[in-house]
Amino acid sequence: MKIIYHCFGGSHSSILAAALHLGLIEKNRLPSMDEMLALPYFDKTSKKDFGSIRFMGIDEYKNEVYVLGKKNVGRRYDNMLKGVAELLGKKDEVIFVDCMPRVNLGMKLGGFTSRRMGWVSLGRPVLGRSTRKAFLDLVNLVEITRLKTMNTMQVAT
């Protein structure tokens, strides 16, 4: 199964969610900014990455985990991808996870300042603090997703 975490830029919340899913970051304590910055793609993406589905790793159940930046397409994007997957006859092979409902205003502002405006030294501290605030919400999202994939696997067997 393929799991695609998506958010606005594919640079912060989706990366953190994918990292949590893959166990690249511990879920039972708040990560430091250095730990987050050590994750692949975290706060490192550019405009050309919008729309690209990027590979993050394979979890212990052999599920492939990906991230995607969808810009400001919103909830429509989830349905668009689900619809296309259905059209291609692969509906049951892919799970799309929208991280945006778990993103707080500080993450949006910090991410915008760091990525879009290019003011990294100004945006990153705001981003770091806000990401730590949203961390447990993201952990919750990942746990729900992991349960969903396990259910799907059980149904398949």
């Binding site: 990906y66 349905n79 619809g83």
Partner: protein
């Protein structure tokens, strides 16, 4: 094969392109094309099945909002990811000047005359670009033959 006409909305210019492709529209009087300006069908974001052509190809329209390039790239990536044969999927982006205006006009509430504004603006802008849309469809037909 599946053919997707992609654009800001699935019920405006991509729908007209799909109808031209299916041989249902020859002149720019498209006001009565089935589903034209029916934004209710486009709200969810799911692809809209239009019909099959004479070769059995399934024709769809898909509205991805103002970020058509992002949508195009994601669909291509997704098809690669799930191993869908490249030859079996053809995505044609239909773009016209003022398409964002058409998209946002579709968001105006019906209560304040959104339906009429949407129809009036769409008729005008798409009518003006009808020959361009036809050219895009001809280009796709040419690509399919090759």
């Amino acid at each position: 094969m599946k053919i997707i006409f992609l654009g800001t909305s699935g019920v405006h210019h991509p729908l007209i392109a799909a109808n031209i492709f299916l041989g249902r529209l020859h002149k720019s009087d498209f006001r009565f094309a089935r589903g034209f300006c029916d934004t209710y069908h486009d709200e969810s974001g799911y692809p809209i099945f239009i019909d099959k052509d004479q070769d059995g190809n399934e024709v769809y329209t898909l509205g991805v909002g103002p970020e058509t390039e992002v949508g195009y790239k994601s669909i291509k990536n997704l098809a690669d990811l799930v191993g869908y044969p490249e030859k079996e999927l053809n995505i044609k982006t239909i773009s016209i000047p003022g398409e964002r205006l058409v998209y946002y006009a579709g968001k105006i509430p019906k209560l304040i005359g959104g339906r009429y504004i949407n129809q009036y603006l769409s008729n005008y802008l798409i009518g003006k670009e009808f020959s361009h849309i036809k050219e895009e469809v001809d280009e796709l037909r040419h690509d399919l033959v090759q």
